[in-house]
């Protein structure tokens, strides 16, 4: 039952009138806000056609936006793969029956989750730059920082996914003579992954959004390219807005996919698809940049 139907009755004539009144007020509010923004932008000359014209030229897209987008997607795609690997390894570590492995994995995961991604990124960027170990320290720093942070979140997802499975799954594995590790690998984790797939896909949105932190360390991703374009063409505001719209469209598509998966997969697993509550704390930390 959705919230909307719970909070109020089917409206009678009086309530319908109030709702209509509220709707008129609401629409007036939206229009006033839009008009104010247009007025503000127009007053500062930001709606002038020459500020927007560069986005109709192919060279803007060819030399600024598309290369930037490509760099963003490259960093995000590599980070998605590596953080899943990191998450699988440390998730299994946290579920290990051998205490030292469990403790070490736990400390590493909790530590990496508690520090800001940006802090890690700046450290890796300057660190790699100093020891001269890689060709492009900014790119490597973005990917590694995203991997360490999101990998830890995914490790937690896998752990809570496995713990959300009915105990019988593990017991059945033991009963046919599997070792705990075998049962984890071939029975529990595959099911946990299906149950956690929506949350995992939502984490991809976090990775994509966080890749924009590369802007601060000078990685030429979408935001950085948009800024360069805007400084060159004198349309900084417009360039930033276009880059934001591109991010929103991609992330909205990925979020919608996650929501669809969550309804589709709830029939496919014994685990609790989509929800990742553990001890009252939601493991998924979507608010991260």
């Amino acid at each position: 039952m959705s919230v909307q139907q719970v909070l109020f009755d089917a409206p009678g004539p009086k309530a319908r009138r109030n709702i209509l009144l509220g709707n008129i007020l609401g629409v007036a509010l939206i229009l006033a806000l839009v008009a104010y923004v247009i007025f503000l932008l127009g007053g500062k000359g930001q709606l002038a056609p020459d500020k927007w014209a560069p986005f109709l030229e192919s060279r803007t897209w060819e030399f600024f936006i598309l290369p930037g987008l490509l760099n963003t997607l490259k960093a995000a795609a590599i980070a998605v793969v590596t953080s899943i690997l990191f998450g699988l390894i440390f998730g299994m570590g946290r579920l290990s029956s051998f205490l030292p492995i469990r403790a070490v994995a736990g400390v590493i995961v909790e530590f990496l989750r508690a520090i800001p991604v940006l802090l890690m990124m700046i450290f890796l960027w300057l660190g790699f730059g100093r020891i001269d170990a890689v060709d492009d320290p900014a790119f490597v720093a973005v990917v590694v920082a995203l991997t360490l942070y999101n990998g830890s979140v995914i490790a937690e997802l896998i752990r809570s996914g496995v713990q959300g499975l009915p105990r019988g799954q593990r017991e059945a594995g033991m009963a046919i003579g599997m070792t705990p590790v075998q049962s984890l690998r071939s029975i529990e984790i595959p099911q946990a992954l299906i149950a956690m797939l929506p949350a995992l896909v939502s984490q991809f949105v976090v990775i994509l959004k966080d890749s924009a932190l590369g802007y601060i360390i000078g990685y030429s991703e979408l935001l950085q390219s948009a800024r360069r374009l805007g400084v060159g063409e004198g349309n900084l505001l417009q360039a930033l807005l276009i880059s934001a719209v591109i991010f929103i469209l991609i992330n909205f598509a990925v979020s919608s996919l996650a929501a669809r998966l969550s309804t589709l997969l709830s029939f496919r697993t014994k685990g609790r698809a989509g929800t990742t509550k553990q001890d009252g704390v939601v493991a998924m930390d979507a608010a991260s940049t």
Binding site: G22, P116, G127, A212, A244, F247, N251, S255, V281, S288
Partner: protein
């Protein structure tokens, strides 16, 4: 070791963390106010307000915080000459607070909505049965329980906000922790790892108690059903 200790004489590390705490504090207040308003919009019977709430959440949740903060300094200040105070540096600080608030309000809204989902159907029905209309029912019956149910997700938003306050670096706020760390590493390249660990530890020290506290509070405040 002595080398390491001289760092603290040259650079004011506690002041940097204090800047992050201030950013977090103000952004948390504004985000809570705006987020609660948006949550009210989203659960109200009025379709146009529902639309505003949903559109806001979808737009701000899917935009990178870095863009929002960079937009504050490059767009609002640079292009539109929006100024929140006369003081140059304080202006950047306030614009960063504005960006952090706008971004996290979307998550506060979703956290409260998830709290509303924990309130059983019977509560709303009982409120209606004693003759409360939407706003009184929301204010007296639904929201107090919803806030209690939303403590854990709100705590997660707060933790994310503490960590995200470092992104103010994108908004020319040079006094916060990640900017100071960058300066320190650039000048004292011999101590890269100790400097990083100092700042990392600082965040661990701030974040972990907040996590424990919200977990404790969410149990303490949970409505017994």
């Amino acid at each position: 070791m002595e080398n390491y200790l001289t760092l603290f004489e040259t650079y004011d590390v506690p002041a940097a963390f204090w800047a992050n705490i201030q950013l977090t504090f103000w952004a948390a207040i504004w985000a809570t106010l705006l987020g609660t308003l948006l949550a009210l919009f989203r659960i109200s019977p009025i379709a146009s307000l529902q639309f505003v709430g949903a559109a806001y959440v979808n737009i701000f949740r899917n935009t990178p915080l870095t863009i929002i903060i960079a937009f504050g300094v490059l767009g609002l200040f640079g292009q539109l000459q929006v100024s929140l105070t006369e003081d140059f540096n304080l202006n950047f600080f306030r614009l960063a607070i504005l960006g952090l608030s706008l971004y996290h309000a979307a998550f506060v809204c979703e956290a409260i909505r998830s709290g509303v989902n924990t309130v059983p159907l019977g509560q709303a029905e009982a409120a209606r049965a004693i003759g409360l209309s939407f706003l009184p029912a929301a204010r007296l019956v639904i929201l107090p329980q919803a806030f209690r149910g939303a403590v854990a997700p709100l705590g997660n938003v707060l933790i994310a906000l503490i960590k995200n306050s470092t992104v103010a670096a994108a908004g020319s706020v040079a006094i916060e922790a990640s900017s100071l760390m960058k300066t320190m590493i650039e000048f004292r390249g011999d101590l890269v790892i100790p400097i990083f660990l100092t700042f990392a530890l600082g965040f661990v020290i701030i974040v972990i108690p907040v996590g424990l506290l919200t977990t404790w509070a969410s149990r303490k405040l949970a409505v017994a059903r």
